[in-house]
Amino acid sequence: MSFAEPCPGAIVCARNLTRLFRLGAGTVTGLDGVDLDIDPGAFVVLKGPSGSGKSTLLSLLAGLDTASSGELTVAGERLTGRRPADLTRFRREVVGMVFQSFNLLPTLNVLENVCLPALLAGRDEGAARRKAEELLERLGLAGRARHPADRLSGGEMQRVAIARAVINGPALVLADEPTGNLDSKNGEAVIELLARLNREDGVTVLLATHSDLADGVASRTLRIRDGRLIAPPCGA
């Protein structure tokens, strides 16, 4: 059993992180004693087969779920044992999320979808709008700002979702199989976008996938199986 020290300087620091699910009478292990440090500015790819615990780990990092045991610190904030209000603020300010199935709100248009996190956080609407327009411009969607979100193609939807993930200027973007519902061309474009954000804005990216599309841009690759990280060759 590893018993690592807290890691000064790391943006993600997990110690013995475990998540068990109660299922009827028994329990299912989603995550089993994970230790993990991620340096700021890294582009980390998390690889593993379906059901290995990728999404479970990401949802803990995003403050959407709480661990059964272990310690977790993200961007200097301890996430274990926090009140819901603190987790909400954490989600607003620290992380951005990208999902496999995009999860845009069908009743809002593209611009409104991008602005939503800023508005929910109580930011100024005008400023949020300008920031969103700038982001859409950068992502090549300037012409589609007023389109209903549910009329876009899958690739466009995912780019809108990425804009939405970074509008509040998060330190960490968590992407859970963002290419899973896309063809390889669109998938590559999405990966390229995330890499650009990582390069140009210094955003740390943790990308869970079981495809090889991101291999080229990763600064580090983690492997997970049955809820455990398989010790990687250091720095690989």
């Binding site: 999404s55 949802s59 779920d65 209000a85 989600r91 300010e93 199935s101 996190p117 109580g122």
Partner: protein, 859 residues
């Protein structure tokens, strides 16, 4: 068939079981509606049944009944039939209410018959062995002042055969011997079994109606033709009427019918609201299972099968709801029965309901109505299910385009409904029943319900910017969600519109009615003390106050003005009405009528001079007579023929009333005697209470055993209390309709939230707080409730006008002054708003049922 059943179980029942919450909520809604509907009908049915049974036992097996409408027959009339070739049997009958002296016991029905002649007409048997029984009814013949009591009455009074009984009637109290007890059959079952039978001669002595009888019953020889009966009727004096024995029953039932119909329609309203619930659940199931439906179709299911599946769902919901209504109805009907029979007794005919009987026909009607209602509610969504194209099994997205078009289409349909509603309003009633009016009301509801998707969309988009600025992102998100779901939420909003409209309309109507009745009571039922002959009210004032007492009353106290009156209960065709001769001149000094037609200042002196009669609104409406026309009637042998001077409001009975000057009646026709008198203070005294109790004491001391006294204030309060009790039933029905509507809002919101749990979790994931989610759901509820309440209020104001001017006028003949009860509405509408908003609570709970991390799991 078997395979359909299997599909139904696997496809529909399992789905219903999985979504138990919704299914149970909808079943509860229908159960409430069905329980109200069924118990109202059962209660009215029981009242009518007990009334008609009484009337049938009375009627016996006579072929014709001879009466003098509003009066009594001279006994000599009987002699005509002794040798009449067409008549085989004849007998006489009189009835009155009497009471055990010195007892607080309620009066019972005393029947005077000829024990010999009556045997072939009516069934009544004495208890005991043959010999004793014969002895008993021979006693009735031989011995004056003997009485036979029904079993329940004897038990109530604690009397056995041979006991003495002091019986109190208008003129006197007399001592009777109980000659025997009646078997509970035939005549002994009249009036819920509270009857006594005496010989007709004794009856006449007790009541003072010497040589007079209420009616003569006739049986004709075999083979007598209609022409011969016609001939017989023609040969009778003009003021007598030869009726079929069922006539009295029919005229009573006719009076109750409008009341029954109004209550039924009102009770149907809660079932109607329940119908919205069924619709919304089946529509939801169709919408949520489109993909499965497409797959079923792709696998070879016929469109008809899918249609039948969802229709069966509706039938199942209806059946379950009806079953659940049984225990609910059993409780409800007990309460309703009392209220309904009391209302019928005060307003129409005296009924005495002993027990509820479960009429198979009523139960069948209630089942059929509930199930058919649910089936109809499921019809449209089932049709939708049938039209799901199999290729949708392959599509990724649900069809979006239809939505906007269907909101606009519904709005067009709505306009059509409202136009048709307006066109139906001026139509006349069909056989005394405002059918066109009811249809118009239905169309009004339908119109407003169909308008709701359009209203929702426009309200939500109209307020978009404003709300975002005022209330932040949750309000804006809510507005978007409402716009998106407008067509689906429209159904619940429609239910709310219906319930709020009913509520508003009835609040306005009852309030207007009550205000008018208050004014009427204050002006027309004015006076400090009302005095009538003993048992006057219950005997419909047939027995006037004895002359010596009238003289005494006149001279009693100079500080009071007296307004004497005599009331007769008459009939015009089949329409029953009252004629009241009253001291008009004195009355106008202290009170007034509520004038409806004619110039009061001009008519008052003319009415006081006896130049003509005043008729009530109901009388004018039913007979079509108007000021200037002539009123004709035969009253106690006098032919009254007078012009109608004016029309006044009166709410004493459902029948009409005609007023004429008492003094001039005596001058022109005959002495009408007094059936009652009211006392007014001549001048306002220093201490009215003391003066009044002095008067009371003086009357009670001298004639306490011969007169009934009621204080003016007590009487006016009693009238208003009866009014309030009558409408208490209405209020209960309304509250139930509102509860059903709130249930609808709760289900809809919950369902909408459950369907969007993925979206809600996304909002959480991108930084929304649980509070923002809660606030968003409440905003959604607020949109629905505001739309429902706003449109409901508008619909209700229209409806109240229709109820007062069309439905009430056509079914009862009376109208009232329109006043909107703003304080009540101002108080209750926010309450309804709060309650309906409370319906969002289950939805809020549902919102957090799924953990947000579920977002990351694959779909």
């Amino acid at each position: 068939m078997i395979s359909f059943l299997r599909l139904f179980i696997a496809f529909s029942l399992r789905h219903a079981a999985r979504h138990r919450g919704r299914t149970i909520a909808v079943v509860c809604g229908i159960a409430l509606g069905a329980a109200v509907f069924t118990s109202v009908r059962l209660a009215v049915h029981a009242s009518i049944a007990s009334f008609t049974r009484s009337m049938d036992f009375f009627a016996g097996n006579a072929d014709r009944v001879l009466v003098q409408p509003g009066g009594v027959l001279p006994e000599e009339t009987l002699a005509r039939f002794y040798t009449h070739p067409a008549v085989r049997d004849y007998t006489v009958l009189s009835t009155t209410y009497a009471r055990k002296a010195d007892a607080a016991a309620p009066p019972f029905l005393l029947i005077g018959i000829d024990p010999l002649l009556d045997r072939t007409f009516r069934e009544w048997r004495l208890r005991g062995r043959e010999a004793e029984a014969v002895e008993g009814w021979l006693d009735l013949l031989r011995e004056p002042y003997t009485v036979l009591l029904s079993l329940p009455l004897a038990r109530e009074l604690g009397l056995a055969p041979g006991a003495r009984l002091a019986l109190e009637h208008t003129r006197r109290t007399a001592d009777f011997r109980v000659a025997g007890l009646l078997e509970p059959s035939g005549l002994a079952l009249v009036e819920g079994g509270r009857v006594g039978i005496v010989d007709i001669a004794t009856f006449q002595e007790l009541t003072g109606l010497y040589g007079k009888i209420d009616r003569i019953d006739l049986k004709f020889r075999r083979g007598v033709s209609a022409a011969e009966i016609e001939e017989l009727a023609r040969s009778l004096p003009q003021d007598l009427a030869l009726h079929p024995p069922s006539a009295a029953r029919e005229s009573g039932v006719t009076m109750i019918r409008a009341y029954q119909l109004n209550l039924s329609v009102l009770s149907f309203a809660s079932l109607f609201v329940g119908m919205f619930l069924v619709y919304s659940l089946v529509a939801l199931n169709v919408a949520a299972r489109r993909k499965e439906l497409a797959i079923l179709r792709a696998l070879g299911a016929a469109p008809r099968t899918l249609f039948a599946l969802f229709l069966s769902e509706g039938v199942l919901l209806g059946t379950l709801g009806w079953l659940a209504a049984i225990p609910l109805g059993a409780v409800l009907v007990r309460h309703l029965l009392e209220a309904v029979s009391r209302t019928i007794s005060t307003l129409f005919v005296r009924v005495r309901v002993e027990d509820l009987e479960l009429s198979a026909a009523e139960i069948a009607v209630s089942f059929a109505v509930t199930v058919v209602t649910s089936l109809l509610a499921a019809w449209q969504p089932a049709g939708e299910a049938m039209r799901v194209p199999p290729r949708e099994a392959m599509d990724m997205v649900a069809p979006e385009e239809r939505r906007r078009r269907s909101a606009r289409f519904a709005a067009l349909l709505a306009l059509g409904c409202l136009a048709a509603c307006g066109a139906l309003l001026p139509l006349p009633p069909a056989g005394g029943v405002p059918l066109a009016g009811y249809l118009a009301v239905l169309l009004l509801f339908l119109g407003f319900a169909l308008l709701s998707p359009f209203l929702l969309e426009h309200l939500a988009s109209g307020l978009d910017g404003l709300l975002a600025r005022l209330a932040g992102p949750p309000a804006r998100l809510a507005g978007r969600a409402v716009r998106q779901g407008a067509v689906r939420t429209a159904v619940s909003v429609g239910a709310l519109i219906t319930a709020v409209a009913l509520f508003t309309a009835l609040v306005i109507m009852v309030h207007s009615f009550r205000r008018t009745v208050e004014t009427w009571v204050r002006q027309t039922v004015s006076g400090e003390l009302f005095v009538t002959a003993k048992l006057g009210q219950v005997n419909r004032f047939r027995f006037p106050i004895p002359e010596d007492i009238v003289e005494g009353l006149r001279r009693l106290d100079a500080a009071f003005d007296l307004v004497e009156s005599r009331r007769w209960f008459l009939e015009r065709g089949h329409f029953p009405y009252e004629f009241e001769a009253m001291g008009m001149e004195t009355f106008f000094r202290h009170g007034d009528f509520l004038w409806l037609q004619g110039d009061p200042a001009a008519i008052r002196p003319r009415a006081a001079r006896g130049e003509g009669v005043l008729v009530s609104e109901v009388f004018a409406a039913r007979t079509g007579l108007r000021p200037g026309d002539r009123f004709e009637a035969r009253i106690e042998g006098s032919l009254v023929d007078l012009p109608i001077l004016g029309v006044v409001r009166d709410y004493r009975t459902d029948g009409g009333i005609v007023f004429y000057s008492h003094a001039h009646f005596r001058e022109r026709f005959h002495d009408p005697r007094w059936s009652g008198v009211r006392f007014f203070f001549r001048e306002p005294p220093a201490d009215p209470e003391a003066e009044l109790s002095r008067l009371r004491r003086a009357i009670l001391e001298r004639w306490g055993d011969r007169l009934d006294l009621v204080g003016g204030r007590e009487l006016r309060e009693a009238v208003l209390r009866i009014f309030d009790e009558t409408f208490a039933v209405t209020t209960v029905l309304l509250l139930i309709a509102l509860a059903v509507a709130a249930l609808g809002i709760a289900t809809t919101l919950t369902v909408l939230v459950l369907e969007r749990s993925r979206q809600l979790n996304t909002i959480l994931a991108v930084g929304g707080s649980p509070r923002q989610i809660r606030s968003m759901i409440f905003w959604e509820a607020a949109f629905l409730v505001v739309t429902g309440e706003g449109a409901g209020l508008a619909c209700g104001v229209l409806l109240s006008g229709m109820l007062i001017e069309v439905i009430n006028r056509q079914s009862f003949g009376w109208t009232f002054l329109y006043t909107v009860d703003w304080p009540s509405l101002g108080l209750s509408l926010p309450l309804i708003f709060g309650a309906a908003l409370g319906a969002a609570l289950p939805a809020v709970r549902a919102a957090f049922r799924q953990p947000p991390a579920a977002l990351l799991r694959q779909r």
